[in-house]
């Protein structure tokens, strides 16, 4: 009896990786999935925090895809190692701070390590030639193969017919004729294939699965690096960039102002790391002060934060400052008039 070959599929939660895994499973290959958590994954975070997003289905699409396919999914935390990809991308950034090509090389490289450790035979991705401007071009797809050191063990079932045969095809583990030759940015072939497999409910192709492709997010990350004088971050830093309004009224500090109860609750968890402002006299946001501040800075911060409270039109409002050491101080401030909150302060 022929040995059943085993493949590891990179599962993002989108349609392409779902189809790629399914196409290979159809050929009798044992497939398991892997999903790398970089800290910048769009999955889940804002859904969990903001009320308006809670109306959306609360599901992790990678887990959902694995369940649809009936395969195991290994979610691997790569947040520490991924820093080097974001901070020093060898191939540079895309339109924002998205290091897509380095990211793909990194992820396929991690998958190579995984299959080596677990005795799997090859790797599957949902890549399609010409689909993405940076990481899914014929030339850059060759770079991924070279830099990840995957050799001939990377099968891209959706566009395999447009590429030279890989080991699984050459060895007859999979039938090349039953693979596909998709190319370009059109999603129609994938949608047709999904229909053929009876898959109607899948994550719709959108702006990508990574916050780094988002202009506003990238601007906040660039500001973080500039303000610290170093290109570095911790996981908490990049989580906080996803939450609240960020305003930098002075070069040495910025404010993170909760936009609703869910965000306030989330920000509250950081009260030992940042001085925190809480509205007392009126309903209003919880505000973190990121930076080393003096009394004048705190007063400015409180006036700005009060502008976003229900007391914005009141004369004086009362707030509480809770410092990192837990010490508390009451403040009486006048909310800053809307016109005085400068646009350039918004990050």
């Amino acid at each position: 009896m022929m040995q059943q070959r085993r493949a590891l599929a990179l599962i993002s939660g989108g349609l392409d990786s779902l189809l790629a895994a399914r196409v290979v499973m159809e050929q009798g290959i044992h497939v398991e999935g892997v999903n790398f958590y970089t800290g910048f994954c769009v999955e889940g975070h804002t859904h969990a925090i903001r009320k308006k997003d809670r109306a959306r289905p609360k599901r992790n699409n990678a887990l959902w895809v694995a369940e649809q396919l009936g395969i195991k999914l290994h979610i691997i935390d790569v947040t520490e190692q991924y820093k080097d990809v974001v901070i020093n991308p060898k191939h540079g950034y895309g339109a924002n701070l998205n290091p897509c090509l380095d990211c793909k090389c990194f992820m396929v490289g991690k998958a190579v390590e995984w299959i080596g450790e677990h005795g799997f035979d090859f790797i599957i991705t949902g890549e399609v030639v010409g689909q993405r401007p940076m990481s899914q071009r014929r030339d850059t797809m060759r770079i991924v193969v070279r830099e990840s050191q995957v050799g001939e063990r990377l099968l891209r079932p959706l566009c395999a017919k447009n590429l030279p045969p890989t080991l699984p095809e050459l060895e007859g583990w999979v039938d090349r004729e039953k693979l596909y030759g998709f190319s370009g940015r059109s999603r129609k072939p994938q949608m047709a294939l999904a229909k053929q497999f009876g898959l109607m409910d899948y994550a719709q192709p959108a702006g990508g699965c990574c916050f780094l492709t988002d202009e506003a997010y990238s601007r906040k990350l660039a500001d973080l690096w500039e303000s610290r004088g170093a290109r570095e971050y911790e996981l908490d830093d990049i989580m906080l960039l996803k939450v609240g309004r960020h305003l930098r009224p002075r070069p040495h500090f910025k404010l993170i102002i909760g936009r609703e109860e869910g965000e306030n609750n989330f920000l509250q968890g950081y009260q030992r790391r940042f001085p925190l402002l809480r509205m007392i006299s009126h309903p209003g946001p919880l505000t973190l002060i990121d930076g080393e501040v003096g009394a004048e800075d705190v007063e400015l911060a409180a006036c700005i934060a009060a502008r976003f409270s229900a007391g914005r039109d009141a004369g004086q409002v009362e707030m509480q400052l809770i410092d990192r050491d837990g010490s508390e101080q009451m403040l009486q401030v006048f909310p800053m008039p809307v016109a005085e909150v400068r646009l350039e302060w918004y990050l």
Binding site: Y37, A48, R59, W64, E67
Partner: protein
């Protein structure tokens, strides 16, 4: 044996990753109680358990936190 995992304040998928990593060190039949605050964990941890052959015995809200009790299943590879 019953173990406890504090996944408070972690946002998904981190509660799932921490659960996965802990379960991988446990034996079939053992129990793991996961405490989380991210509402997304209410769907993600059970989904991860279904995929990987583990069983959610109980899920309850306690003082605004989510407590999920998991029985570790057989690990097949």
């Amino acid at each position: 044996m019953r173990e406890q995992l504090d996944a408070r304040r972690l946002l998904c998928p981190l509660p799932v990753i921490r659960t996965q990593d802990r379960v991988n060190t446990m034996a079939a039949g053992e129990l793991l109680e996961v405490i989380c605050t991210d509402p997304g964990a209410a769907s993600d941890i059970p989904a991860w358990c279904r995929i990987n052959g583990h069983k959610v015995i109980e899920m309850r809200e306690q003082s605004g936190e989510l407590v999920i009790l998991i029985e570790v299943g057989e690990k097949k590879r």
